[in-house]
């Protein structure tokens, strides 16, 4: 890989520092940056994110991050998207009347359909069931609890992309993985030991240069 450097993409996302702190806690020395040259030279990238898809896409475009991120991911290097950092990878989101996203993964973010007794946002600790083996889930039992907070959930047209799934009114893929790309709907940086383990696994995997686990699902476009 290009370097051991972990870049946390700085586009003013609310959980930027929490993500950086979790990475530090597991022994990485993350650099918070919005510089395309840093992204280009990164050994691993984490794209944080909370809030609205519209705002996220606006900020990514405003800071000229779309092209560097798309090129980085296309180069097949380690990438972790968190929450809105997952939605940004999809083709579109229902948020704000419909929002085009990066279109790196074939899928959409849809709103939880209101129904009696269903609180939206989906907020709190919920279980994630692993659907296959993967380096980032090593040592984390299937059915472990992670912290979620979101009103829109991902759907993917290629089921092979799903690495983990979670049930809340619907069963949705709460972790996506394709090649060296992983994205979680939950916030590992706020998910105590299992979340920190996921970051630790990601950092170790990114450094190891281990081969990508099969099946490696197709990426859109």
């Amino acid at each position: 890989m290009a370097s051991d450097r972990v870049i946390v993409v700085d586009y003013d996302a609310g959980n930027l520092r929490s993500v950086a702190r979790a990475l530090e806690h597991v022994g990485a020395a993350p650099v918070v940056s919005a510089d395309p040259a840093d992204i280009d030279a990164a050994g691993a990238i984490v794209l944080p994110g909370v809030g609205a898809a519209e705002d996220t896409m606006f900020k990514l475009r405003e800071r000229n991050l779309v092209e560097p991120l798309t090129e980085y991911i296309a180069s097949g290097r380690p990438f972790l998207g968190v929450c809105m950092g997952l939605h940004a990878l999809l083709e579109r989101s229902d948020e704000g009347g419909g929002q085009d996203c990066l279109g790196i993964l074939p899928g959409e973010a849809r709103r939880f359909i209101p129904q009696p007794g269903l609180k939206v946002p989906h907020m709190g600790w919920n279980t994630v069931e692993w659907l296959r083996e993967h380096p980032v889930t090593e040592g984390i039992p299937t059915g472990s609890y992670f912290y979620f907070v979101h009103s829109y959930y991902p759907t993917v047209s290629d089921p092979a992309l799903a690495l983990g799934e979670t049930a809340y009114a619907v069963t949705f893929p709460s972790v996506l993985a394709s090649g060296y790309l992983v994205a979680t709907q939950f916030h590992p940086e706020k998910s105590s030991r299992h979340g920190l383990r996921l970051y630790e696994n990601f950092v170790r995997w990114a450094r190891s240069g281990e081969p990508v686990p099969a099946p490696s699902a197709a990426v859109a476009r």
């Binding site: 609310g14 959980n15 930027l16 520092r17 929490s18 702190r21 979790a22 806690h25 909370v50 809030g51 609205a52 705002d55 209101p114 269903l118 609180k119 939206v120 946002p121 989906h122 907020m123 709190g124 600790w125 919920n126 279980t127 609890y145 912290y147 979620f148 907070v149 979101h150 009103s151 049930a167 809340y168 916030h187 940086e189 706020k190 998910s191 105590s192 030991r193 979340g195 920190l196």
Partner: protein, 260 residues
Amino acid sequence: MLTRRIIPCFDVDRGRVVKGVSFVELRDAGDPVELAKLYEAEGADELVFLDITASADDRATTYDMVAATADQVFIPFTVGGGIRNPVDMKVMLELGAEKVSINTAAIQNPDLISEGAYRFGSQCIVVAIDARRIPGEPGRWEVFTHGGRNPTGLDALEWAIEAASRGAGELLVTSMDTDGHQKGYDNAMLRAISDAVTVPVIASGGAGGPEHMADALTAGGADAVLAASIFHFGTYKIAEVKSYLAGKGIPIRPVEPLTD
């Protein structure tokens, strides 16, 4: 399955936990970071810090506390108290708080809810509602400010609906009638509010034991329960509360050790 949350709450003054927290495990029970770490290890699902620092000059101590907590604690935490505008919100969120809680400022300026939700996302805007029963009018509660001293004339149910429709991602509902008595939450008010909004509701005020929490989560329809004294004085461990609730069939995240 989504689990119900158990949330210890601390009052913090100039960066120190106040109101007699007694922990034999801790050398310095006034250190919010030490307490937060302990509660994370004991299985707390979230934490709430209520900053009661009176002077704006002393706010820097709060910022240091929030940053230090975010450095060392890996569960979500909310900071309330003294947040009056979007800049205050931004500072707390950037320091590492997951959510900010607003109370009086939201009543004085409801646009603050909408603006916060637009700029930072609904998920991090908690509207705290302190309310009292209206004597002689069953099923009605009035919103108060300043720790229950100042009546606002606002109907709690109507205010809850407005706050949610303006973009609050969660409501922290405290009964000033039951608060401090340790005889249970105001489940009628919790149920009325929970049924009227689609956002999660945190029950607050009156926890004396796990049975009260079970009632708030079932009869009261709350999504989370907040408590201070019963945890701080060691009356109950979080694990005991969780085991009791799980025994009642309430979905709970089990307490696990932080390391193998």
